[in-house]
Amino acid sequence: MSIPETNNQAYTYHPGELLPGLEGHISRGRFERVLRNGDFAVTAELAPPDSTDRNEVFEQAALFDGFVDAINATDGSGANCHMSSVVVCALLSYIGYSPIMQISCRDRNRIAIQGDLLGAGALSVCNVLALTGDDVSAGDHPEAKRVFDLDSISLITLIKQIRDEGSFLSGRTITNPPQMFVGTSINPFVPPVESRILQLEKKINAGADFIQTQYCFDMPMFKDFMSKAVDKGLTEKAFFLPGVGTLASARTARWIKNNVPGVHIPDSIFKRLEGAQDQKKEGQKICTELMQQVKEIEGVSGVHVMAYKQEECVAQMVQDSGVLGDRKPWSPKDEY
């Protein structure tokens, strides 16, 4: 059936225009531009709502306006149900934000993931973060079937194939493949600690363009990891954005340490929190200081802020840290 001439507009309508392509750039998104320009980038995590109200997404994103370059939309984080990351990213790119679509291997097989990548590409999503994903047992549906058809490295390989070879895994051609800037995560703080650098190398060899790390509270450990990455030349091949976070109190920190997989919090952080009069403020102060410290480390290109349930404090912390200098990241307010 041919589309009536008069309705063609409806079929070619493109929400959230892509930026013009630049030489040497993979994607046509703003996030990659900031990094390649050598600016210190700030990304922040958005928790997709338990609702169908898209304004909840926009309200949360607006908290970051002017202080964040790209917004990570989590994909069923902690194995809990929320609005899908594909749709959160589509909504955000619709009004011009630069979202990072997290894909966890836990819930979807290779057929579903490839379909979502094309769908996201059609809605101008330019960045994707390949993750293994927390196990189903960590979340509110422990009885669910775990998929894990792919692992994070297979997922990076898949995204790269779609992008660079313009075909599905089966080899079938994709006309207009999605030009995704591919990231992944690394957790240098948990065993096997000595092998984590080799794992990072493997992820970068698979095609990771940027790296966002798990919560980084142990600065000496992270510095050691980064010096190994610099020695191996890995910081030349990918952009590094260590993850920093806020802890509401020593009690919360202890709960996270015991219940959230893979979070390493050293004793010094507990001591600081316990000794403070206002533990929440102290948690934010720690986060602000961590931002300043990671910026000084060789090979670090930005910082990733995960302020779960304290999203409204991100802008203030970024401002207090001064990591952006006098640069002001794009926000829809500049545009409309």
């Binding site: 792919l150 692992d151 390989t157």
Partner: protein, 150 residues
């Protein structure tokens, strides 16, 4: 068997020597058997592979065996069946996020790999499992393809 599996990765070098010595023999024997019987013995061969590798490595018969590239620790025993390295949820004591009583398969794999002569094999990217091979014999498939058994 969990203890046999841990033994394998902790003696990965010895297993590698045995494997390197025996695999060409097993491979060519299987190749000959396959030609002579035209696949009639596939079932008992698959069954014996299941028994042997099941005991030694807790083999799950994924049909995509990569043991020699994973420090002799079978990655299919990882609850997330990760084939390229550990997830970020490994516990401080090196045990699994999902099964706290079990050593992380990839902690075992990396330490096994370090003991092996070909300690770079673990750095090769293993693409996701081809599930159409599930339950079939990796030995027979590789013998037919005339490749090195892994």
């Amino acid at each position: 068997m969990y203890r046999a599996r841990l033994f394998a990765s902790r003696h990965a070098r010895a297993y590698e020597v045995i494997y390197n010595a025996t695999s060409p023999v097993i491979l060519s024997t299987l190749n000959i058997i396959n030609k002579l019987t035209k696949g009639k013995l596939d079932k008992p061969i698959t069954w014996s592979e299941k028994i042997v590798k099941g005991f030694l490595f807790d083999c799950q018969m994924c049909g995509n065996c990569v043991l020699s590239s994973t420090g002799m620790a079978c990655p299919m025993n990882c609850p997330k069946t990760l084939r390229n390295g550990p997830c970020g949820g490994v516990r401080a004591n090196g045990n699994c996020e999902v099964k706290p009583e079990m050593k992380c398969v990839w902690v075992e794999a990396w330490s096994g790999s370090e003991k092996m002569k070909n300690n770079l094999a673990i750095q090769e990217i293993q693409f996701a499992v081809d599930h159409s091979h599930r339950g079939s014999s990796a030995w027979i498939r590789l013998a037919k393809e005339d490749k090195q058994i892994t």
